[in-house]
Symmetry: C2
Subunit: 213 residues, 2 copies
């Protein structure tokens, strides 16, 4: 396909995706039909179906887009080389993204999808894959930071990277529902614990796992 047509297709696909996200966040996932999406995008219903075969398809594309933006940012940091400076910039990116979560339709949609995931296996699977992906990226970044002495190498990067993923999602949820929440305060608490921590032996904290699990 010639480059210009490909670009045009991709542009149109993104336009329909944006229109769908508008509809979903305004009226809810269930109350939105493919017809509503075509109206919002100002294209024919047939055109929507050229790009997406169902609402589930659109949902997956929207989740993937969010994920790709994050992955691209992290890849860029890794390419630059992981220094204290580049890690700070990456952290700034995360902080700003979270602090603006309430203005971002993709995040509002994400809450709806969380509710939807309880009954829709395909969405559930996408969310799980997305979490795995975010966790792996966080863990890898922490490991590299530990290797370079930016954080204490005795820290359990695997557990902390996973924990940050949960903290991130909890914080985004709060911010969307209560835009007055000061996410910087929450994130500073995490940073302070992370940077000041592990300077003493970690032997006083034992791994705990109740017998009943």
């Amino acid at each position: 396909m010639p480059k210009v047509t490909e670009d045009h297709r991709e542009e149109r696909r993104q336009h329909i995706l944006d229109a769908a996200i508008n509809c979903f966040t305004r009226n809810g996932f269930h109350q939105t039909t493919m017809k509503d999406i075509s109206k919002e995008a100002d294209v024919s219903a047939g055109t929507v179906y050229i790009y997406f075969s169902s609402k589930d398809d659109i949902i997956e594309a929207s989740m993937r887009r969010n994920q790709e933006a994050r992955a691209a940012r992290i890849e860029a940091t890794k390419r630059e080389g992981l220094t204290l400076q580049s890690l700070r910039e990456l952290w700034d990116y995360y902080e700003k993204r979270m602090a603006k979560a309430h203005t971002d339709k993709a995040w509002k949609l994400w809450i709806q999808l969380s509710a939807e995931a309880l009954r829709n296996p395909r969405i559930r699977e996408s969310m799980r894959a997305n979490w795995d992906d975010a966790e792996n990226q966080n863990v890898e970044l922490l490991r590299r930071a530990a290797e370079q002495g930016i954080i204490n190498p005795d820290l359990d990067c695997d557990a902390i990277g996973k924990m940050f993923t949960a903290l991130h999602d909890g914080l985004v949820l709060m911010k969307i529902i209560d835009p007055k929440k000061d996410v910087y305060k929450y994130l500073n608490a995490f940073r302070a614990l992370l940077y000041n921590c592990g300077k003493t032996s970690s032997s006083s904290v034992k791994e705990r796992r109740p017998d009943d699990e």
Copy 2:
């Protein structure tokens, strides 16, 4: 009102509440009518209205019930006196509650309510009040633990208590959608950071706040 009638009323109210939660988690909040709830509870529609004037009323009662259970547990710990032992027991309670989140209908309903909160101001207000309440409780517990030397007194209890609320909610969200998640791993990471932390000066971590916020 005689005690026995009062008890009966309360029992009946809880029964209707349970039936409503069943309906909401099975079919969604919007798709459930007051009539569905009366059927599920096996009472007349009129009886439901004696106890609750609307679905929103039921939702609020369900959120309050969850909150009251947590508050009662924390009050009991405070009455006993805050020792390392009683704090450990409280932590165990939290851990187990989170580890079982996927089996608890009240938590599944909570995800639906989060989505609903975007469009329903009354639910949004309840969620905010619930968060404030949880944050205040966490902060108070941490302060007392710091006073007693159980955790490092230089830690920022206010910020960490709030942060834990976000971590808690993010983790519950993950656990409900992906029951295989090992919440103990995430919580151990938090505990390890909390207990081992702050042994060095905290001056290396400055409060950050971008100008654009």
